[in-house]
């Protein structure tokens, strides 16, 4: 067979293998929409709890957020391959989601979500852990910047008045959920530069 194969063709085959492996390893799954969705969920929950001080504001809003995430994710799941990297990142966020859901559902229903500083600090610290771990796995500096903002918010929300604490928390949500989420959606769109095997 190789009698008819030129050196150029063999090199091209080697290049194709490297390109396809790199393509498969690239984390193509876009989760930017989840950051935006959860940013909105947090804003709705904060607005609801500030409006009528209902103990159900956080548990109900988070429940709707979880259901919406599951429905949208199941529609999008088929278009992406399963990779170890995706599973690692997914595991972090699922574990964080379950922890936050159980914690805030219980605290909300039992009426113990009374200390706004503590509440915002705990959420910020948990989101700092998730973003930090995800950023270190992906080696993504921008997400690590989000983790730093969340950690700073965990410290910042512990000080000052209720209004100052809430301002810090709202800023962290805006920067790390809404802005980062939109960036994640936009950054996913990348030009294709290589000739693909199906066009050979």
């Amino acid at each position: 067979m190789q009698d008819h194969t030129t050196e150029q063709e063999l090199k091209e085959r080697l290049g194709l293998i490297e390109r396809m492996i790199a393509e498969g390893r690239r984390n193509t799954e876009s989760w930017g929409w989840t950051f935006v969705l959860w940013g909105i969920v947090y804003y709705v929950a904060i607005a609801w709890s500030a409006w009528d001080h209902s103990v159900w504001a956080w548990p109900a809003t988070i429940s709707i957020g979880v259901l919406t995430t599951i429905v949208i994710a199941s529609f999008k799941a088929g278009n992406h391959p399963k990779t170890t990297l995706n599973r690692a990142i997914g595991s972090i966020w699922i574990a964080v989601g379950i922890s936050m859901f159980l914690l805030f559902l219980t605290l909300g229903v039992t009426g113990r979500l009374t200390d706004q500083h503590l509440f915002a600090a705990v959420i910020s610290a948990i989101l700092g852990i998730a973003n930090g771990a995800s950023a270190l796995i992906l080696r993504w500096k921008i997400q690590f910047a989000c983790a730093i903002v969340w950690w700073a918010a965990a410290v910042g929300t512990s000080f000052g008045t209720d209004a100052q604490s809430m301002t810090v928390f709202l800023f962290a949500i805006f920067f790390c959920q809404i802005v980062f989420g939109i960036y994640g959606i936009i950054a996913k769109v990348q030009p294709r530069e290589q000739r693909n095997p199906g066009n050979a």
Binding site: M1, Q2, T5, E7, L10, K11, R13, L14, L16, I17, R19, M20, I21, A22, E23, G24, R25, S74, F75, A77, G78, N79, H80, P81, K82, T83, T84, R87, N196, P197, G198, N199, A200
Partner: protein
């Protein structure tokens, strides 16, 4: 001189094996997007790889839509590794050029 496995050597089949070697499993539409192959050509090459035992397919329904999930088998992984070894041997010093 080493022989190049003709099943692996096909351009699209080689691309499919390389892609599948880097993921746990992948859907037909993802493979189509990455290779930019037509449905017919892609289906035929995947069938050939399946027949020789290099890939395995799982067909299921998700939200009432049919889904074909492909994964590389141990045999396919070995065939790809042997192909790369043979390729590098054939190219010799030219491999780094």
């Amino acid at each position: 001189m080493p022989e190049l496995n003709p099943v692996v050597h096909g351009r699209l089949r080689l691309a499919l094996l390389a892609l599948l070697s880097s993921v746990e499993e992948a859907e037909f539409t993802w493979l189509r997007a990455k290779t930019e192959a037509t449905d017919g050509n892609l289906g035929a090459q995947l069938l050939k790889l399946e027949e020789v035992g290099y890939v395995a397919v799982e067909k299921k329904f998700v939200l009432r839509k049919p889904q074909s999930l492909y994964r590389i088998t141990e045999r396919g992984r070995q065939a790809l590794a042997e192909y790369v070894r043979a390729l590098k041997q054939l190219l010799g010093p030219a491999v780094d050029a």
